[in-house]
Amino acid sequence: MSEAYFGYNIFLSVILFALGVLGVLWQRNALSVFMSVELMLNAANLALITFAQRYGDAAGGALVLIVITVAAAEAGVGLAIFIRLYRQRATIELDKATELQG
């Protein structure tokens, strides 16, 4: 990969990450928040694979799989929690969950 593309990729990953952070902070729907978190993780994946290719580190490519696995596990647990939340309150708006003071 040429130097130029390397810079673009890192830049893109930072943008994606920032979008993910903004999404988490602005969205109120639990699923949108979760999608924003996934965007953050995938930004990390993009940066990881870019660095791995630039430095010729084959292990880096394998590490991406670890991050993807973690993201999948998080989706499994997170969606289960959201379903329970929906059954109890008939909404998954985060700011409606205010039983605990704070």
Partner: protein, 492 residues
């Protein structure tokens, strides 16, 4: 010629194998016996965690390595693993009452507890970025589920959801930071190699990557340690989650997170080149800020809390601040590695004991323990032993001489004074004085008010009592004879 197969170091991996097998065994045993038998699950979990503890004590020498360069049992890591395992056993012991009260599925509860402790052990000894990330996520995933395990309780679900959303968010920060550390170090991910590349840093681009990466990773860790300003989830999660789960979150999770933070900062301890010195100054400044803010915010907000579990949550934020003073001193580097690591370990041991006792008493009181401080009124008349255990925990959390909490604070603060962090120590001591108000309030209610609920308490149960006894007696012993702990730390 085929490449040589990697060898497996059985000694250092045995504790992890034991824990993973125990987690599976708990679930399988429940299937075979085919009835909800909390005591059976508890027994298997305790045996597994105790076995793993013995395997670390007797089977793993200091500096043992496994999985190539990814796992290393250095002094603080090996002890961190032991503290996490012992803490896991204690948390398991204080669980039965809560399992009965909230009708939690016992096998799932203990299996997840064991898997969480597995994550903590791996986190304590991993010295590679992606191993650290994996174990952090293992801990987080188990605690997301554990805190939502009380199915009927809407509060439990809310706690679980809040922890999940913020935990996943901070996990994103951590991994993005790790990737930039990996990139800044030229595609190398073990902490030792990252330390080398900080030392030989030549281009501003690498410097930028490393600083950016470290800052994001620190933010992720600050969240896991519930250090201000990343503490906002803590009170809600502690209040809503089943009480022993809050204990696990406050103890094992924090111990492992802190040990991993020390590992991450380890390359900055010795200032071999100017680049390292500049880097250490940046990181130290950031940590200084986190420590000071945690002490101020934790203690100030704890003053306002009526609910005991919320008060304990803010107290654990303040204690994160005291611990972070240890990290500041560690990065500053004028105190030797052994001295500062010993101080931090003493603090961690004391901290785990007193938090387990405080949450253990709250769990032992059932729904009453989840209420406001008024619900503890007159406890001394109804159950002198529970009140005594709680009093010991509160005094120790305040840092009264003669308790383990004092010993821990003394060592950490003394090292900080040696390194000339006087302002930070003054702040911490003032914070401790303020904290006396909200800790002693619990004691005042227990001993000097008439019982709020005249009904007699349910008997505690042998297991729960044993857990409280095993955690509270060492608080006093360590407090009176701190040299015993020093001997222990050097001999095992």
């Amino acid at each position: 010629m085929p490449p040589a197969l990697p060898t497996i170091e059985w000694g250092p991996t045995l504790p992890m194998i034991l824990l993973a097998a125990t987690g599976v065994m708990v679930v399988l045993a429940d299937l075979v016996v085919n009835r909800r038998a909390p005591l059976l699950s508890l027994l298997i979990a305790i045996l597994g965690m105790g076995g793993a503890l013995l395997a670390v004590v007797y089977g793993v020498s200091e500096d043992a390595r496994a999985f190539g360069q990814f796992v290393r049992y250095d002094f603080i890591g090996r002890w961190g693993a032991m503290i996490a395992l012992a803490g896991g056993c204690l948390v398991a012991l204080i669980s039965p009452k809560t399992i009965r009260d909230h009708d939690l599925p016992a096998a799932e509860y203990f299996a997840l507890l064991v898997f969480g402790v597995l994550g903590m052990v791996v986190l304590c000894v991993s010295v590679e970025l992606f191993t650290i990330f994996l174990s952090v996520e293992l801990i987080a995933l188990t605690i997301y589920i554990l805190s939502g395990l009380a199915r009927q309780s809407t509060r439990s679900t809310e706690a679980s959801m809040k922890y999940f959303v913020l935990g996943a968010f901070s996990g994103g920060f951590m991994i993005f930071g790790f990737v930039f550390l990996y990139g800044g170090a030229g595609g190398r991910s073990t902490l030792g190699q990252i330390g080398l590349s900080i030392m030989q840093m030549d281009s501003p681009w690498e410097m930028g990557c490393l600083v950016f990466g470290l800052a994001l990773a620190l933010a992720g860790f600050a969240f896991k340690l519930a250090a201000a300003p990343f503490h906002l989830y803590a009170a809600d999660v502690f209040e809503g989650a089943p009480t022993p789960v809050a204990a696990l979150l406050a103890t094992g999770s924090k111990v492992a997170g802190f040990v991993a933070l020390i590992h991450l900062l380890a390359p900055l301890h010795e200032h071999l080149t100017e680049a390292v010195q500049a880097f250490a100054a940046d990181a130290g400044g950031l940590l200084w800020f986190l420590a000071a803010l945690s002490i101020v915010v934790g203690n100030a907000v704890a003053l306002l809390q009526r609910n005991v579990k919320r008060m304990l949550a803010y107290s654990s934020i303040a204690h994160s601040g005291y611990l972070l003073i240890g990290a500041v001193v560690f990065v500053e580097g004028s105190v030797t590695l052994a001295e500062i690591e010993t101080a931090i370990l003493i603090y961690l041991i004391a901290y785990v004991l007193m938090k387990v006792v405080a949450f253990g008493v709250a769990a032992g009181l059932g729904t009453r323990g989840e209420g406001d401080v008024e619900a503890y009124a007159g406890l001394a008349q109804q159950s002198p032993w529970l009140a005594a255990a709680m009093a010991v925990a509160m005094l120790s959390l305040t840092g009264i001489p003669g308790t383990a909490g004092f010993v821990g604070k003394f060592y950490v603060f003394a090292r900080a004074v040696e390194s000339h962090y006087v302002i930070l120590v003054v702040l911490a001591v003032l914070g401790s004085v303020v904290s006396a108000y909200y800790y002693l309030r619990v004691i005042v209610y227990m001993y000097m008010r008439d019982p709020a609920e005249p009904a007699a308490l349910e008997p505690l149960g042998i297991v729960q009592g044993l857990g409280l006894l095993l955690a509270s007696v060492p608080i006093v012993i360590v407090g009176l004879f701190p040299q015993l702990l020093l001997v222990l730390l050097t001999s095992i």
